[in-house]
Subunit: 459 residues, 2 copies
Amino acid sequence: MKHLALLGIFIFSSICVAQKADEHEKILEKLYQTSLLNGQSYDWLDHLSNKIGGRLSGSVQAAQAVEWGKEALEAISLDNVWLQPVMVPKWVRGTFEYAYIETSPGNRINVPVCALGGSVATSYSGIKSEVIEVKTFEELEALGREKVEGKIIFFNRPMQADLISTFSAYSGCVNQRYQGAEKAASLGAIGVIVRSMNLRLDDLPHTGAMSYGDLTNKEKIPAAAISTNGAEMLSGMLKLNPKLQFYLKQNCQNYPDVESHNVIGEIKGTEFPDEYIVVGGHLDSWDLGDGAHDDGAGIVQSMEVLRLFKEIGYAPKRTIRVVMFMNEENGLRGGNKYAEVAKNNNEKHIFALESDAGGFTPRGFSIAASDEDFKKIQSWEPYFKPYLIHYFEQGGSGADIGPLKNDDIVLAGLRPDSQRYFDHHHAANDTFDAINKRELELGAATMAALVYFVDQFGF
Amino acid sequence: MKHLALLGIFIFSSICVAQKADEHEKILEKLYQTSLLNGQSYDWLDHLSNKIGGRLSGSVQAAQAVEWGKEALEAISLDNVWLQPVMVPKWVRGTFEYAYIETSPGNRINVPVCALGGSVATSYSGIKSEVIEVKTFEELEALGREKVEGKIIFFNRPMQADLISTFSAYSGCVNQRYQGAEKAASLGAIGVIVRSMNLRLDDLPHTGAMSYGDLTNKEKIPAAAISTNGAEMLSGMLKLNPKLQFYLKQNCQNYPDVESHNVIGEIKGTEFPDEYIVVGGHLDSWDLGDGAHDDGAGIVQSMEVLRLFKEIGYAPKRTIRVVMFMNEENGLRGGNKYAEVAKNNNEKHIFALESDAGGFTPRGFSIAASDEDFKKIQSWEPYFKPYLIHYFEQGGSGADIGPLKNDDIVLAGLRPDSQRYFDHHHAANDTFDAINKRELELGAATMAALVYFVDQFGF
């Protein structure tokens, strides 16, 4: 009898699980259907990219993006929408950069360059000197001050093309851009040229953040990126003529910090309103393109998560927040500010998901969690398979949500297909026309699906 | 003692498996590395797309592609390279098509159209009549001869955007293009306009094969595709003015069959030379673009499989053939001929793999096999995971290898990401610039990896 009763309970609970399972399936179906048939993300991104454009921290466009973000969230009737003030750096490119290789007096070949974000200007008349090509900091240090002094250092280590994740290839190179000027200046160089972080050979220079570390203002030297084709040409010509001269002129400038904002909206949870789930991306972008992939896509996908919930009539148990972080590109001030305020307010954040890897076909998630929490997420994987979401791996999440890290929160990053990302990253071709509507919409639905499961089951 | 001996054997065999496993891993690593760092596929495709271009069966360009294919295979020193003659249809588009909507006499709006492949021309002065919009054949038949006679039928069922596989969405629509003219002509229509098989709203008409079934020459009516934007506009205007007139002029023509060729190359197997493994794609393409995705990508990836084996020094146990099939688009004559000759020669084909779904990031394979053979392939899946190849599903393979089907052969199709495919399929923007080098190369390596496992273990 007891066994029968147990059997009964077992059958009953199996049925419940199956029914519940079907419910989850149906929610996911609705999320994907709504995103693909009746989505808002693509139109939002059209506006952000084409009507506002590149929105570097501290720029007029960044301020316009904040205004727009707030209004767009208000228009989808969230429970609360507000701006969170944050001081951000302001760096301005100025007039376009100019550079050439001079093989002999009067014999000049122009090459495409752009100042790295945060770099100082050259003098009004520019800088001109011999060039020393290196691939690593070790190589640079081995040269020593004697050979480096007065020269322009050319960092030319390419991204490693046989890595499947282009982000891994990026990680293997980006120290040239970030620290190159500091290292070269310490040995007396007068400027640095860095090969663009781009796996493709083309004519577009890719900007990005750099740092002078502890150098004094007087010690700082101008730093610029050169297109991959330009880097190949310069390297080839140096082999023929190691004494060739390189000329660079740029007039970018750092200004005092200015006030900007994170844009935040939320749907209050019905059961656990004091447990917070964050979805977000960064609202700022570099100035060369319109920032459609980096990170306009992440912004509109995050907004869409909340809109989809409202559209399908799903009332979350926990409070779901969308955060448009300001200043990821050159300061991370927005991410730090959000985490600081959350801590001061004793808000219990259980999960944060960032989309900041482009608007391409979603492949899955990279998850920073304990083994136990990771297993829990893995148990939801079968629900994602019909949508061709297969990638659930432990790993990093996103820069803006990083400061929320503590022992209790699970962090995750959407992982879209990465093959094309660095063709556009921080360059003039990071533009709306490189966005595929369906890919963007699939990403939004995929984020919403994971947030749904976390909302249902918590950690 | 016995137990110890068994344990010893167990440990020994575990070590062997592990060693062997490492060997497989190493081969895959070499294949991917070579394809990404030192691949040939992208340069080949550059030539095929930009130097030869669109290569519809029977065209000068198709003949040039055959020549080029043979020479390219000879240049990589295969054991045998030859041409297999096959008679193919010859259809020629002629001068560009012209169409407009006329809301009142003199009030004309041009719309982008293109003749469907195989269609007859209009008369020299074109056709002009009222338009009846339908979404299905049932709707058309319900109208009956009385309402259809003398009219142009406009098939406007869009691809279903909420299907994750765009190929499924294509399957759900393509009967409008293939059979629309036959159905409409049977009810007395004078022409058909078909909404392009495109998930995106844009101005490019997409061509593709159509058939008149058993209609006599006299009964055949001209058939054209209209761009998705054009279809939306026509549909909208019909709601306002059901009596509007549509004008179409095209002067395409069918000619008698001409001789063309499949291009075949092979590496002879070292252990089982009489067991054949085929990799292939189709060499012909539509005429509007340069056929880079459909199916230039499949051609160069298939060639690359054999080149990669030679490049890494892998001597296959079985005979590996690359087949560049002619005339997939409007006849499948090449696929039929290859299967016919293989059968006549009693060649034992154990496996065929086709790439004909675009040169986008590979996601995996669709496999037509017995459950047992499918399980065997699934057991290799872990080796593919580091390359983000997750999709191993039972299903269709490829049109050209379909005629090889029998109880013994396993057929498979490479499955790249499908989201962007129908933006380009059969349209003027199926061009080389829409190809990403890394995505193409990953596809080639992925095909080589599967062929390697089949070669190692057979079926």
